[in-house]
């Protein structure tokens, strides 16, 4: 992340020195979520200088959007958050005549995203992924036996299994709207239910495994998995793959796996959108169109190991990535993915309150 910030600083300096006409594009995106040369290429092609900031939670982005006047031209909320923010009037409709590269997008995935943004009026998929399980192959084998096959939520949701892993560190995402539905799904309930009794059942199950969980956090597990400080983490697909890459880079002997459990997992889309008060919507459209270029998207996927929704880029994505069922799930696995539900204020409050109870016992 620091590298990226330095890069964008260097970029903006270079751009201001060479360009007479100065346009700035302010982007707010997830941390560790772009290729090293994407912004450089964009500036080279369009002459627009980029200021690039990062966040690691939808909640932080949402607070900024709801306050207004964030100064950002492009933000990348996750699908269910996007839906609520559209309802709050945060985003402007896209001018599709400025986005010829929309033709590159995968129709089926864009249709999936249209569940949150009818007609894809406001946003385009940046990357998508699943919420599954990242694990340290050796540490898990050591504790559960060499023959244990990691393919189920049992690894974290079965109280006896997870208790055996507690000593090497198990972490959950600090995201109630992802973890409680996952537990509901494990219990055989509909993960998309908004029934508070179902939330309570999911939370009650999480309380049974609570003592085996070391922490709840949505980004720390990347480093901890890579360093061997944690052996099992419920996490976002690409983040676990980044932990894998970091461990390889460090050559520390840590081998990490990612699995979409056979019971199913949450599928989410991170969507590029333009706030209504964006200072530079024209440049923002240029950027969205630039990202939808087959080569540019392929470069990002090759770097961050998240699946993209760009059909034209597929031949340009590394075979190693396209063939990994953790990134591009098999058709059968796809059947069992579910999309996030948008909750009303009452359900939001209930699920956050239950989550606090799971975490603190109060």
């Amino acid at each position: 992340m620091k590298k990226l910030l330095m890069l964008s600083a260097a970029l903006s300096m270079g751009a201001s020195a060479t360009l007479a006409q100065e346009t700035t594009l302010n982007i707010y995106n997830w941390s560790d979520y772009i290729a090293e040369d994407t912004l450089e290429k964009f500036t080279a092609e369009t002459g627009i200088k980029v200021v690039y900031d990062v966040y690691d939670s939808n909640e932080v982005l949402e607070a900024k959007m709801l306050t207004g006047n964030s100064g950002y031209d492009i933000v990348v909320p996750t699908s269910d958050f996007l839906q609520r923010q559209i309802a709050a009037g945060v985003y402007q409709p896209l001018d599709k005549s400025l986005l010829p590269n929309l033709a590159n997008m995968d129709a089926a995935l864009m249709e999936g995203a249209a569940n949150y943004d009818p007609g894809n009026e406001h946003a385009v998929i940046y990357m998508w992924g699943t919420t599954g399980i990242g694990y340290n192959v050796d540490m898990v084998a050591e504790r559960l036996g060499e023959d244990y096959e990691v393919n189920s939520w049992d690894l974290v949701f079965d109280p006896e299994t997870v208790a055996k892993l507690a000593d090497c560190g198990v972490s959950l995402l600090d995201a109630p709207t992802e973890m409680i539905p996952a537990a509901m799904n494990y219990l055989g309930l509909d993960p998309r239910s908004t029934d508070i009794a179902d939330f309570e059942a999911g939370a009650a199950h999480l309380e049974k495994i609570r003592d085996s969980i070391r922490y709840f956090h949505s980004s720390q597990y990347i480093n901890d998995l890579a360093n061997g400080d944690t052996c099992v983490a419920v996490g976002w697909s690409g983040d676990v793959f980044q932990a894998m890459a970091r461990a390889e880079e460090a050559e520390n002997g840590v081998e990490i796996g990612y699995v979409i459990p056979r019971e199913g997992a949450l599928q989410w889309f991170d969507m590029m959108a333009i706030p209504v008060d964006a200072p530079n919507p024209e440049a923002a459209h240029k950027f969205i169109n630039f990202i939808m270029d087959a080569q540019i998207t392929a470069d990002i996927t090759n770097y961050v190991w998240y699946a993209n929704a760009n059909a034209a880029s597929m031949p340009l994505v590394d075979e190693e990535i396209t063939s990994d069922p953790g990134i591009f799930p098999t058709p059968e696995a796809k059947e069992r993915l579910w999309g996030a539900t948008v909750y009303d204020a009452r359900a939001d409050r209930a699920i956050t309150r239950l989550w606090t109870r799971v975490k603190t016992g109060q």
Binding site: E59, L66, A88, V90, Y215, D229, T352, T356, T360
Partner: protein, 324 residues
Amino acid sequence: MSGQAKLSEKLPEKSIGRLPFAAPLGGALARLGLGPRALVIAIPTVWLLVFFLIPFVVVAKISLSEVAIARPPYLPLWEWQDGILSLSLNFGNYLFLASDPLYYSAFLESLTIAGFSTLFALLIGYPMAYMIARAPGGMRNILLMLVILPFWSSFLLRVYAWIGILKTNGVINHALMSIGLIDEPIVMMQTDFAVYVGIVYTYLPFMILPLYANLVKLDETLLEAASDLGAGSFTTFLTVTLPLSLPGIFAGSLLVFIPAVGEFVIPALLGGPDTLMIGKVLWNEFFSNRDWPVASAVAIAMLFVLVIPVMLLQKAQQSDGGHS
């Protein structure tokens, strides 16, 4: 270099050594009937108005509103409709805080953690301040400098450094394991212990500095008198030094206690998930529930929980000052 030279060229020579525009400003204030004393008082008053009172009123206003899917995410308090001003105040947010024991226990835990942290900071800071105040002149400045030195690096970096020190694969565990004192690493991160370490470490200078300022002024002839009258060094400390340093203890304790109660960053980075402090509850209300009105109500309630002990302490300090 050239930049500096240019800067000094720009400044008119007569302004060196005093504030530019001081004379005309003073004249203008005098015409308004405000003397230099009023000016001195006006600056902190304006400061408090702009940076305390106005934000407080804004937060109080939001706390009486109702949550909505909008931007910003709450309903306006008043509306003009057909020339009629309709005002809707919603006290439900405060009632809601009382209805769920979560808020009460989070307040209590915050106060407990802040209280113990203040005590630890006092126990560690007092001897340090005492030693610095008793150190010979040149040494004293170096020691004071060392107390302030950590402020030159970012607060966040220093807390992150503690992660590196305390974590399972961290410095302490490595050291203890390599000398064979322990076989298994001790889990220190994500515990209350780590939160205490972080808070005491971060706020220790705020305890030491007021204590030092107080102890350095201590009249040594009083100590000599006590010893002439037969008091041992411990009795002298208990009956002379300690009572005289009470104002320093109060000042230092307040400076540690108040920010520690509302602390969010340290428990978020070092604490475990069961460390339930009010800062985290506030975060949840604001970010996870998007319920700005309830979040504001928590903030206002927190202010009152803090104001009462502060006022009590100040009263105690004042009455103490009256005795001596």
